[in-house]
Amino acid sequence: MDAILLQILNGLDKGSAYALIALGLTLIFGTLGVVNFAHGALFMIGAFCAVTFSKLLNLSHTIVDDSRKDFLGNPMKIDVPYLHEFFGQAAGDVIIDWAVPLSILFAIPVMIGIGFAMERGLIKHFYKRPHADQILVTFGLAIVMAELIKYFYGANPIPTPAPAAFAGSFDFGALIGADPNTIIYPYWRLVYFCFAAVIIGAVFAFLQFTTFGMVVRAGMADRETVGLLGINIDKRFTVMFGIAAAVAGVAGVMYAPINSPNYNMGMDFLVLSFVVVVVGGMGSLPGAVLAGFLLGILESFASMAVVLEFIPGINQIIIYLVAIIILLTRPRGLMGRKGVMEE
């Protein structure tokens, strides 16, 4: 029982990451009709916004300490962050410690900018081209983005820890009267889950309760008619692309402490997020979110030792197996609309 509760918790957390990425992907697909293979790369760039921001905070000047030697026997060079000089050692360290949450403020404008540039500079020209071309050009872009990051940051993962306040884990077991240490969960992952819930809620609210969102939804349903009504739907779609990029970006920022970012993490998520979107049903936002959580939870269950004893290797294939079963029983995924991406 404890084990199952724990894996549900786990699945919710894992699912929130899938859902966030799939949400952005569906937004772009649903509004613009573009299959964006560079979406994983946007997530990766978001994570590297956190890396860059903490590097910026750590900008330092070098002083030479003659009393200590480095490994070659030369005088040791010591880096002193400017923040220490501006705010004093203690306050400087606190700011550096909170680099990841702070970098959201940095990431949002950057990601919106990248999203705008991408849409205006590249994607715009591909609205009328076949999906295969869209896939190819965004895939090329994803490679270029990843390689640029590799060029500047190297291939190695870069540790980007969460603030010290969120270290350690919360004991749910004690809360519900189970044995201590049986149901524990890291604070930062709980933060991530809440954060994902807020973002998903905000995107839905934006689409549901604002005029802007209403027009976009109308555009998703029938772009031509909305255009005929004299509404400049293109401009709104550009904004939506920026928002989708920002959603992917902040998802990446908050994910950085969970797994140290590396240049290839976008590709790792790309295939998975596509499976999530398709299982949810093309063009359906609630479907994407639902599928994200569903696959997250199932994946967590499949990784339990008891399950693996019965079916060795099930953890390797569970996501794809579920995808096949769902697509065979529900032709357009969980909540897909008829006629979208079926030709």
Partner: protein, 454 residues
């Protein structure tokens, strides 16, 4: 127009079909002249350095490449000579290999066996490489080793830790300087028992592929022999990035030690996740909960950041060995000095093993007096040497595996810089990690005989 019958790389079996079927004149191969593949022509010799340049191990590959360049420099008599001064064999004199200047070509393994083979083949077929070295995973090492055996060139393995490389997949033309899973287990177990006690309950997370299997087996059998109990062993997919689902149940199982049989990105992520769960702050069975990572890599330790503090693991070599443990490990400082001067930071163990392998090959050629792979194999088999940073070392003839001391390290509590991440805990002497050539963890392979190609 003339048909030359002197092929630099080709090998021909004169089949009647070849002549008739393709209507091409076939000539006897280079065998008539040199007797082996890619016999160096003129006053240069070409070595092939095949390292990961894209994919997750690209940084490790870059470090290997730096070491190779340094080794070539030293062989050609440039720079400060590095380990040539401390190497116990004095055959090398800085004039290249047997008077031939050393050149090299590089390629990208992509850490995929197919790509690694393609890259190595182009070095052999196009560039005329007479030796291939490098690599950062066992899959690649085994694939390229088999290729070199077929093609008739020498393979000096880079970083490969699976037992299989010199176990069930060993080949006569392949040599491994790096240590292996068995040695990690044998070296770690006594240190673990001493540090954490002999009545521990271990929970293994194992990467679900060959290297993971051999490492888990090695660590399990070594620790169980000292009284540990293995509570559970769960396999994790290679492509996994978030290990929370595997780590969450660990505490419920009643285990008090977590062994992470992971490498590279898997290791960074699983360790980071385990520390996030606060495992190391917990008390289980009245004991402090501990995490163990059997194979350490400096580059990956850097990726895991502060999470590696206090975590035990094993290494083939560490750049602080000679400073801390004395002249037995001579060669270390000479190498660190020339590497550090050239590149500005200390070398990783991957760089060290690649550098040493290149020198060992050059030395074996010089001692044998020939580039012929069979002569080189003979010169390396049973070769005992010293002054290469690992103390006295034996290249065993039975399986082409080096036997030397294994370094047990621990993540440093207060690192001074990003290269100073681990501290040496203990060095397990070579005879404690030596095993019989027919040990069951290495069963099922045969070296065969050396193949000179051509």
């Amino acid at each position: 127009m003339s048909f030359s019958n002197l092929t630099r790389r080709g090998l021909i079996k004169t089949g009647a079909v070849a002549g008739a079927g393709l209507a091409l004149p076939t000539y006897l191969s280079a065998a008539a002249h040199s007797g082996f593949t890619n016999a160096p022509q003129g006053d240069t010799v070409t070595l092939g350095f095949n390292v990961p340049q894209s994919g997750p191990y690209a940084d490790e590959g870059a470090d290997e490449l730096r070491a190779f360049e340094l080794a070539v420099e030293h062989l050609n008599g440039m720079g400060d000579g590095g380990m040539l001064q401390t190497f116990s064999s004095k055959a090398l004199d800085g004039t290249g290999i047997m008077g031939k200047k050393v050149q090299f070509v590089t390629g990208d393994t992509q850490t995929k066996s197919d790509a690694a083979r393609a890259s190595a083949k182009s070095m052999i077929e196009k560039d005329g490489a007479v030796m291939i070295s490098g690599g950062s995973s066992s899959g690649v090492a085994v694939a390229v080793q088999a290729l070199c055996q077929e093609a008739g060139v020498i393979f000096m393995a880079g970083l490969t830790h699976s037992n299989d490389t010199t176990g069930k997949d060993k080949r006569a033309n392949g040599f491994r300087h790096f240590f292996n899973s068995y040695m990690s287990g044998a070296a770690l177990a006594p240190v673990l028992a001493k540090a954490y006690g002999a009545d521990r309950k271990a929970y293994h997370l194992t990467a679900d592929y060959n290297w993971g299997y051999t490492t888990e087996e090695a660590v399990r059998s070594s620790t169980e022999a000292l009284g540990w109990e293995t509570v559970n062993a769960v396999k994790t997919p290679l492509t996994q990035t978030d290990f929370s689902a595997y780590i969450a149940p660990v505490l419920q199982s009643g285990a008090d030690v977590l062994v992470l049989n992971h490498y590279g990105g898997n290791m960074v992520n699983s360790l980071t996740n385990a520390v996030q769960f606060g495992l190391r702050d917990k008390m289980v069975n009245g004991k402090q909960f501990e995490i163990v990572v059997p194979l350490y890599s400096e580059l990956m330790a850097r990726g895991a950041g502060a999470n590696i503090k206090g975590i035990l693991g094993s290494q083939n070599w560490d750049w602080k060995l000679e400073d801390q443990l004395g002249a037995r490990y001579s060669g270390t400082n000479a190498f660190v000095q020339s590497f550090g001067t050239k590149y500005g930071f200390p070398p990783s163990q991957a760089a060290h093993t690649c550098y040493v392998q290149t020198l060992l090959y050059a030395d074996a050629v010089t001692r044998a007096g020939s580039f012929n792979p069979c002569a080189v194999v003979e010169a390396l088999q049973g070769f005992e040497f010293d002054g290469m940073g690992n103390g006295p070392t034996l290249y065993r003839a039975d399986d082409h595996q080096c036997f030397k001391d294994v370094v047990v390290v621990k993540g440093k509590e207060n690192p001074e810089n990003e290269f100073d991440l681990v501290e040496i805990v203990e060095v397990t002497p070579a005879d404690q990690v030596t095993y019989a050539p027919d040990h069951q963890q290495f069963a099922g392979g045969s070296l065969g005989t050396c193949n000179p190609g051509a």
